[in-house]
């Protein structure tokens, strides 16, 4: 299947001032977002952050209280879901259990009144793309989880929509199949070059699939950016904590000295100077020092500065790497997670010296806002 030439606006999504409440609970708060044609945008956030509601608003399965949604340049805010130029893949797959795979995939086309020959052609083409050709006469109950997922995607493909919507499509699969399907979806996006909006709570899926990630919290956007932008330059402590696995260590520190773009902070009795920060932080201010587990080292590295001594509570061996769970000594008593090579000699109960590369450190003020100078 090759990408076809389309009008320049085809596949764009523009959300302006969108709001939605269920009873007294506001789920989406005046949200603005622009998605370019061909992008793979991932909505990510904790449970209840509004990511699925936002997707359902785009699909037309929920009615917006205010604001507008434009798809391919057309205002679809009050449009019927079937006439929005979208196709959706549900978390539960939502395959019609009484229909065969071919009937499931062709159902939308039948509803459009398309001819039998054209339906069969489109279904066969999508089935070939998704390696479903052998399964077309089976019912969903005779398919494995991965096959059902592919049928659900096939059902979306045959409609040739402007925008694909995925609502946590891999969450019902086991870990191995999830990884495999993730690769298949990425390949599909590369092949179709269609706009895809993907909801997940799994930040690994978000990082690996998205060309842009939208981090949502409490019905509002915390940050929008490319995966590595969010990883390296989180706008606030929430994004910093949410993107990256294991999550970033956020340690309570106190500002000792601020000079131009350098802030010196104190942690567990030791001082660390961090560059690239905004000025105007008062001495004694309570801050959060953000360090990813992969940026903490055991002992002293070539570019690392000593951070603290720590008591090892647990070593999680993952094969290629190990996760060391420790508690900082020196009065801080903060929990730390370090990523170490798989052959690390560190064992539970040991006391280790922990060092950090100051260039990989983040600082957040009392409200969680990043102090990194933009």
């Amino acid at each position: 299947m090759t990408p076809v030439s389309r009008a320049p606006e085809t596949g764009t999504v523009e959300i302006t001032g969108l709001a939605k409440a269920f009873g007294a609970g506001t789920v989406i708060r005046s949200l603005d977002l622009k998605i370019a044609a061909g992008e793979f945008v991932v909505f990510v956030g904790p449970s209840g952050c509004g990511k699925s509601t936002l997707l359902r608003l785009i699909a037309g399965l929920e009615r917006a209280d205010s604001g507008s949604i434009r798809i391919s340049g057309r205002d679809v805010t009050r449009e019927h879901p079937a006439r929005r130029g979208i196709a959706m893949v549900f978390q539960s797959y939502a395959l019609y259990p009484h229909m065969t795979v071919a009937e499931n995939m062709g159902f939308a086309l039948r509803m459009q009144g398309m001819g039998r020959a054209e339906i069969e052609l489109r279904v066969a083409r999508a089935a070939e793309t998704l390696q479903l050709a052998e399964l077309l006469e089976r019912r969903p109950r005779a398919l494995s989880g991965g096959q059902r997922q592919r049928v659900a995607i096939g059902r979306a493909i045959v409609r040739e929509p402007d925008v694909f919507l995925f609502d946590e499509p891999l969450s019902n699969l086991d870990a191995a199949l999830r990884g495999q399907m993730r690769v298949e979806i990425a390949r599909l996006h590369a092949r179709l070059a269609s706009t895809m909006i993907y909801v997940t709570h799994d930040q690994v899926e978000a990082m690996t699939l998205g060309t842009r990630i939208v981090v949502l919290n409490g019905g509002a956007i915390e940050q929008v950016g490319a995966p590595l932008e969010l990883y390296h330059r989180p706008r606030n402590a929430f994004v910093a904590g949410f993107i990256g696995a294991p999550r970033m260590n956020l340690l309570a520190v106190r500002a000792q000295h601020a000079e131009r773009d350098r802030i010196e902070v104190e942690f567990a009795g030791r001082h660390i100077g961090i560059h690239g920060m905004t000025s105007g932080v008062p001495r004694g201010a309570s801050l959060k020092l953000g360090v990813r587990p992969e940026h903490l080292v055991v002992g002293a590295g070539a570019t690392a500065t000593a951070l603290c001594d720590a008591q090892v509570a647990l070593v999680e061996q993952l094969g290629g790497e190990a996760l060391i769970h420790a508690t900082a000594a020196g009065g801080a008593s903060e929990a730390l997670v370090l990523k170490a090579p798989g052959d690390t000699a560190v064992r539970a109960g040991a006391t280790i010296a922990v060092a950090v590369d100051p260039l990989a450190c983040h600082l957040f003020d009392g409200s969680g806002r990043s102090l990194r100078a933009s």
Binding site: A82, H98, A142, L143
Partner: protein, 298 residues
């Protein structure tokens, strides 16, 4: 210890087993044996003679039986589809999420609790009497009184209406079936462009077929066994127009004391219900869809 446990187990089971033996198994076997005898209620059982299939042969020439069988089939063929359609329609209405829907669900279910009772059948008789409530009501619209219980056609309609009025239990089962249809499927169908009618025809009804099948079989069995309504409202009349088979069985046994013939009629009714149930089960593979995982995923 094991022996003691087994004994107390049997003790717990005993009331049920005694009830099953005395009130179900014994009458079941006895009625079969009696259907081959000339036993009459006023005679001693020792006087009963074995007469083979004589009662069954007699049915072939019994005009009352032919009439009764005809009205029974009419009653079943009209009330079962109408009752199922009514129950399904109301269940769909009650499936909407509306304020106070619990009250409406209770209100619609209530007639089923009351409907089968003798008291309601008596009320029905008065409501459809010449100067009853129904004639008064249609009088307000200028229509003349109808001889509901005196005209054969109207009498049957009145008795059928009582059965339709008891749609609640089938409705509750339909409602549970409708609640069991995943919301995702309806949303997927909406996204696929299915309107209300297409959604009903292509998604809801196919997924509801196991429940429709269950309700159909239950309603057929119950309709063939209907007794209270025609007995109290019309006593089988006029001109035997509501003389359903259970009513004939009752009268043969307890009015004409011909227990042998009544037993034979009972077994014929049992056979008819059995054939209908078997046909329903045989046909189910063509129209009933079970979504449960029965095939092994490959």
């Amino acid at each position: 210890m094991i022996y003691a446990n087994a004994r107390s187990g049997w003790l717990y089971l005993a009331p049920f087993l005694v009830g099953l033996a005395v009130f179900t198994a014994f009458p079941f076997v006895a009625s079969l044996l009696l259907s081959f005898s000339d036993y009459r209620l006023q005679d001693s059982l020792e006087d009963a003679r074995y007469i083979g299939l004589a009662h069954y042969v007699a049915m072939a020439g019994d005009r009352t039986f032919h009439k009764s069988l005809g009205v029974t089939f009419l009653y079943v063929f009209v009330t079962v589809p109408l009752k199922l359609a009514t129950a399904l329609g109301i269940a769909m209405l009650l499936n909407f999420r509306l304020r106070g829907i619990g009250f409406f669900r209770t209100a619609f279910y209530l007639p089923s609790i009351l409907g089968g009772s003798v008291a309601i059948a008596v009320v029905w008789r008065y409501a459809f009497a010449g100067d009853g409530l129904v004639n008064q009501a249609i009088g307000w619209f200028g229509a003349g009184p109808v001889n509901w219980l005196g005209e054969p056609g109207y009498a049957m309609a009145s008795v059928m209406l009582l059965r339709l009025w008891q749609f609640g239990s089938a409705m509750v089962i339909f409602l549970a079936g409708l609640k069991g249809i995943p919301q995702d499927l309806c949303e997927a169908a909406r996204l696929d462009g299915a309107g209300h009618w297409q959604l009903l025809r292509r998604i809801t009804l196919p997924l509801l077929t196991p429940v429709i099948f269950f309700n159909f079989v239950m309603q057929v069995i119950q309709a063939f066994q209907e007794f209270n309504g025609p007995y109290i409202i019309t006593a089988g009349g006029p001109l035997k127009s509501t003389y359903l088979l259970p009513l004939m069985i009752y009268e043969e046994a307890f009015k004409y004391f011909d227990v042998g013939y009544a037993s034979a009629l009972s077994w014929l009714l049992f056979l008819i219900v059995g054939i209908f149930s078997a046909l329903a089960f045989r046909s189910s593979k063509y129209w009933v869809f079970y979504s449960a995982e029965r095939e092994t995923p490959r």
